[in-house]
């Protein structure tokens, strides 16, 4: 009697754990939503700087559900260059104009070596061309880039 009871409760536990596991795994794989930056614990995956300039931050949601956080689009590109984008579920960068997450692959980039960014790579992301132009009106003129241009950009060297 006692044993039987024990058995059922054990199997129930196992079932619960399995279900939880399935839910956890399942959640991770369907959508890759960006998460909020926690300035207490988040540091750039590449350069280790803590994220204090939120409006330049980027993140990659891996296919296994892990998040990699970056302080600058340059560090994000460095990560992609090193690891490829096979495991990348989605990649986001902050829109400098609105401080909202936008898709790295669809964003409009402006480059000028004099723009300040956390790593001083001088590349800033926007959701639309208008926002980018507005930025350039206020600041110095820069070059407009799409994502594929970033792949060939010579990061970090801007003498």
């Amino acid at each position: 009697m006692a044993l039987e009871k024990g058995d059922t409760s054990v199997t129930r536990w196992i079932m619960i754990v399995i279900i939880c596991g399935v839910i956890l795994v399942g959640c991770g794989e369907k959508t890759y939503l960006p998460r909020e930056i926690n300035s207490e614990t988040d540091v750039c995956e590449v350069c280790n700087m803590s994220i204090v300039h939120n409006e330049y931050a980027g993140q990659i949601v891996l296919k296994n559900g892990d998040y990699e956080i970056f302080d600058d689009i340059g560090c994000l590109m460095d990560y992609i260059e090193l690891n490829g984008d096979g495991e990348v579920g989605a990649a986001y960068i902050k829109n400098k104009a609105t401080n909202e997450w936008i898709d790295v692959y669809k964003a409009i980039y402006v480059y000028n070596k004099n723009y300040w960014t956390p790593m001083n790579y001088g590349v800033i992301a926007f959701a639309t061309k208008d926002e980018a132009k507005e930025w350039m009106n206020d600041e110095e003129e820069g070059q407009l880039f799409a994502y594929r241009d970033l792949l060939t950009l010579n990061w970090g060297i801007h003498e």
């Binding site: 300035s39 540091v43 280790n48 803590s50 994220i51 204090v52 001083n120 970090g156």
Partner: protein, 423 residues
Amino acid sequence: MKQIMLFFLFFLMTSQTAYAEFDIQYAIDQAKAGDSIHIPAGRYQGNFTVKKPIKLYGQKGTELYAQNDEPVLKIEHVSNVSIENIRITAKNKGIVANEADNLELRAIELKDIRVGIYLQQSRHIRILENRIIGNESHFAEKGNGIAIFKSEDVVIDQNTIEQVQDGIYVEEGTRIDVQRNKVTNSRYGTHFMYSSNVKVLFNTYLQNVTGLMVMMTTNLEISSNTISAHNGFNSYGLMMYDTQEAMVRENSFLHNRVGVALQKSSVIQIQENRFQMNQTALECTKVDERSIIMDNQFTGNILTARSDNRGLRLIHNFYDDYTGLDVTGDGFGDVPYVAVSSFGQWMVRQPVYQFFVASPSVVILTSLDQQINKTERNLLVDNEPKLLSNMKEIEFSLNILQLVIGFIVFMGSLWLWKRGIRV
């Protein structure tokens, strides 16, 4: 000049009251090159600009505060300016210098500021004996104590900096000397980016997120600093990222989460430092083969070293957990010291493993490791570990109170025990 002295005398007599009516900006505008302006004690509100070579002296109780978000004091396109002995408060920036040459800032107290001293495209600067105190908010919302951009030949000596984002932030600087400063309770004690020819000597870094953060910088000397109690979630004593040619000597790394971390760096020499009671003393990833770690002392660290690299060279260091003997009597242990542990290596790859730090299972694993890894030849091996004979002696300094209490508790419980058996 005469006029200014008159002003000064006049106010010396009449104006020990606060809100003196001395017009600083007027005095500056009237002064000739090379003049000295003595600002009498009192509180002055406003934003002041210096565009000519003059000297500004405050006295005890001279205090400037900003009218708006603009800096209190702007120094622009000018050489040979010196400012001394003033208190400054501002919502945003305290002192901003742009294209200044031969500027000296001494004994200035900056309080409740976002950014203390902000320097841009300047040369031959001396920032001495200042005191910079930020506010209580989270470091992500604060500015830097001393921020230096694109400048050359800067000496930062004997400043005290508290509660800011980065105590001293240097971007694209060359010939920067950071000496005898003390930075506490900030994000990074000192933070270099894209700089070269840097000296960091005799500083004290305490309880920041990270003591010394060096990024994309070449040619450094980091000596005789004390870097302690950096214990946040992502803290390091010294972190070097993408750094070339650094000499790290005779520093003390005490009680940090990670004493020294090297990443993507090359030609780094870490010599004669003291690593004491850090959770991890040394962490190296992507470090080249020309970097060496020599003649250091490792005591009381939970994990001595972890690395992804086969080439990291440990030479002649002292390890307090080394168990070998020195039969040959040359001062070095006869069997190699192996610092590698599986757990340490896993932690490099997957940070979540940190949960198990020093947990019982890991303790067992590590002691098993040490048996198995005795044959390790390349990874984190010191073939000639130094043995020290000058270990601290046990001091028989009596702590009477504790002795008595301990003894009473001990005997009392034994007596209770005996009684318990007899009943």
